[in-house]
Symmetry: C2
Subunit: 380 residues, 2 copies
C-alpha cells in the first residue's frame, strides 16, 4: 500500500485524486491532506478516508474541525501545508494546490525524500532550477500531473533522453482559437470560459485562451525533461486527443493519446511505474473521432506564448514576474476590470520593467512574486 499526502484536496485535481483513491483503497492510503476554505468538502474527505493529519487555510476552521474529529490532528496556513507535505512515512505527495503557495511545501517534501506528483505549475515555472536540483540531490521522482507532461513522460518510458530530438506539446488553441486578434477586442468572460475540450478551473481556462497556459507548460517541460527551449515546440491540435509527443533523432515520434480525462495522468502518477485499470474510463475510439487536425502555432496571434519562451530563455526571476503579472491580470479580467487583450499588455509591461536576478533562492522568488503582484495592482 502506497501512502499519500495530498495538498489541495478540494480543487479540480484534488477531487479527481480523491476519486482515484476511492477506487483503489487497497492500493493507496491517504495519510495527510490539505484544503483551503472548503470546509464542507474536507469534512467529507475526513469522514471517508480518516487521514491522520489535516491542514486548512485558517486557525478558526482548524479549531472548528478539531472539535468535530477528535482522532485527527489539525493544522493551518502555510506552515500547516508544509506539515502535510512532509508528514510521516508517506512515499508520495500530490501537490494540487494553486498558486505560488505550492512552492515551499514541494521543496520541503523533496527534502524529506518523498516523490512528488506535481500539478502545481508555479513550482516548476518559478523555481524549476531549485526543485529539479533538490529532486536529484534527494533521489526523488517528479511525476507530472498534467496531460501534456504526462504524455511526454509516457513517451520517454524505456527511452534514453540523449536520443530526444524535440518535445512537441499539443495545444487546443483555447476558447478563441477560431478568432483573429481583431475579434478578441471585446470578448466576454463567459466566452473566454467556454473551453472546447476540457472542463477546468477559470484561471487555467483563461490561460488556455491566451495560450499562457501552453507557455507555462513549455517552461515546466524545460525543467522536467531537462531540454533547451529550442528543442520544445508547440503544435495546435484542436481535438486534444494527442496529448503531446516526443521526436527522437532517428525521426521516430512517440505520442500518447486518449479522450480528455485528467484522471489518466493523475492515476499514472500515483501508480507509477505500474498502470492500474481506470474505473469508468471513456475509451478512445479513433474511428468515431474520425479526424485529427494539426496547425502551426502563430506567435503573433498568441503573444503570451512568445513571452513565455522569452521568460524561460531569460531565466532567473523572469518567469516568476511573468507568472505573477499574468495571475493578477487574469484575475482582473475575470472580475471584469480589464478587457481580454489587456492581460497580454500587463504581462508584457511587467516583463519589460523587471531587472532580472539570476539563480534566485526561494526567498527571492517569493519576494519578487509578491512585489510583481503589487506593481501590477498599483496601476489600477
Amino acid at each position: 500500500m502506497k501512502k499519500i499526502n495530498l495538498l489541495g484536496a478540494t480543487g479540480s485535481i484534488g477531487i479527481q485524486t480523491i476519486d482515484i483513491l476511492r477506487s483503489y483503497k487497497e492500493e493507496f492510503q491517504l495519510k495527510a491532506v490539505s484544503a483551503g476554505r472548503n470546509i464542507e468538502g474536507i469534512r467529507k474527505v475526513i469522514n471517508e478516508f480518516k487521514p491522520e493529519l489535516v491542514s486548512v487555510q485558517d486557525k478558526e476552521s482548524a479549531e472548528l474541525l478539531r472539535s468535530e474529529f477528535i482522532n485527527t490532528k489539525f493544522v493551518y496556513g502555510n506552515e500547516g501545508l508544509t506539515e502535510v507535505a512532509c508528514y510521516s512515512d508517506s512515499e508520495m505527495v500530490v501537490n494540487a494546490v494553486m498558486g505560488s503557495v505550492g512552492l515551499g511545501p514541494t521543496l520541503a517534501a523533496i527534502e524529506s525524500g518523498k516523490h512528488i506528483a506535481i500539478a502545481n505549475k508555479e513550482t516548476l515555472v518559478t523555481a524549476g532550477h531549485l526543485v529539479m536540483a533538490a529532486a536529484e540531490k534527494y533521489g526523488v521522482q517528479m511525476l507530472p500531473v498534467d496531460s501534456e507532461h504526462s504524455a511526454i513522460f509516457q513517451c520517454l518510458q524505456g527511452e534514453n533522453s540523449k536520443n530526444i530530438e524535440r518535445l512537441i506539446l499539443t495545444a487546443s488553441g483555447g476558447s478563441f482559437r477560431n478568432r483573429t486578434r481583431e475579434e478578441l477586442v471585446d470578448v466576454s468572460v463567459e466566452d473566454a470560459l467556454a473551453h472546447p475540450n476540457w472542463a477546468m478551473g477559470a484561471k487555467i481556462t483563461i490561460d488556455c485562451a491566451t495560450m499562457m497556459n501552453k507557455g507555462l507548460e513549455v517552461i515546466e517541460a524545460h525543467w522536467l525533461f531537462n531540454l533547451p527551449y529550442e528543442n520544445i515546440d508547440v503544435l495546435i491540435h484542436p481535438q486534444s486527443i494527442i496529448h503531446s509527443m516526443v521526436e527522437f533523432h532517428d525521426s521516430s515520434v512517440m505520442a500518447q493519446l486518449g479522450t480528455p480525462d485528467m484522471r489518466v495522468p493523475i492515476q499514472l502518477a500515483l501508480s507509477y511505474p505500474d498502470r492500474l485499470p481506470l474505473m469508468g474510463a471513456k475509451r478512445l475510439n479513433l474511428a468515431e473521432v474520425a479526424t485529427l487536425n494539426f496547425k502551426e502555432v502563430d506567435f503573433k496571434r498568441y503573444p503570451c506564448l512568445r513571452m513565455a519562451y522569452e521568460a524561460g530563455k531569460t531565466g532567473g526571476t523572469m518567469p516568476t514576474v511573468m507568472n505573477a503579472a499574468n495571475e493578477v491580470a487574469v484575475s482582473m479580467f475575470l472580475n471584469r476590470k480589464i478587457p481580454f487583450l489587456e492581460i497580454e499588455s500587463i504581462v508584457e509591461t511587467a516583463m519589460a520593467e523587471h531587472n532580472v536576478l539570476a539563480n534566485p533562492d526561494l526567498e527571492t522568488i517569493q519576494a519578487v512574486d509578491a512585489e510583481s503582484r503589487i506593481r501590477v495592482l498599483e496601476k489600477f
Copy 2:
C-alpha cells in the same frame, strides 16, 4: 561493434539494411550475407563490406563468385542460407528473405543464440508457436522489422505487458481503398500495384490491396506480443503516419508516428536498445500533414482480413495453408491468370478444404506449405 548476418541482401528490406550498415560502419559489421539470383547486387555488397561468408541461390553462381573473390567463402541453396544465419559470433541475424524458405534459417539462428530482426512474415505466420518458444528457450530477442510491429514494440518500451488492453494495427487500406467490392471486378495489375503511401515489392502491395497483408500482421502480432486475437484490432488510417498503437487498461493509448520510411524500423532493430540518428530522414511535420483520418475496417469489404483472423484463431496448420494459397493466388494474379477477386476465393477454398493439424513441427509446416501450393495450382 555489433556483428550482423543478413539474409536477403538484395530485396527491398535487404537494400535498406545495407544502406544503414553503410551509414554506421563503426557500429555494425556485416559478417555473412545471402542473396538470391541477383549476382550483380551481391557483388557490390561483397566489394563494399567484405563479408566472410556469402550464400547465393545455386551452385553455379557460388562457383562463379568463388573465382572472383578469393578471400570470401561461398555457399548456396537452403543449406547455405542456414549457414549464413548461424555464422560465427554474430549477435544478430536480419531475416529479410521472402517466403517460407526463411523459416528454417530463423529457427537455426535462434538455436545458435542470435537475436533476430525479423522481416520474413512466413516465419511467424506459419511457425509462431515454434519460433517464440525457441526464442524464449534460447533467450534471444525477436525484433520486428515492419512498421506496424516496430511501432507496437516502441509503444511497449518500459511498459508491463500485463497492462495491455489491445493492440491497434493501422492499415492504409491499400491501392483500392476508395473502391467498393463491385468496383474490384476488373481491376488491372497496374492499378493494384499503385500503393498510395509505401513503395514495396509486388507481392506485398497486392496483399495490401486485399488486406491479407494486415491479416498476416495480425497473426504476427499475436505471436510477437503474446496476445489473444480478441485484443488485436485493425483501424483504417489512410495517411500511414501513425504506424500502430497500444491501448493500456488505464485507457492511455501510445502511438508511434513518422513519415513512411522502412529504414526507421530496420535501424531500430539493429541499434536496439539504443536509437541512432537516421541519416537523410524526412522528419514528420504534422502541421504540413494537417489531417489524420481514421475509419472502422469492414470485414465484408476485406474478406482476407476476416480469413486471417479465422486462420489465426484456428491455429495449427491453418495459417500455413492460408499463406501458401494466398502466395500462389497473388502470383497468378500478377501473371494475369486470374482476376483480382479470385485471390480471395482461392484462399477461402483452400482453408475450407484443409483438415487442420494441431501444433505442427517444422517438417509438417513445410510439407503442408508445399502441398497447399500444389493443390491450388492443380485447379488451373
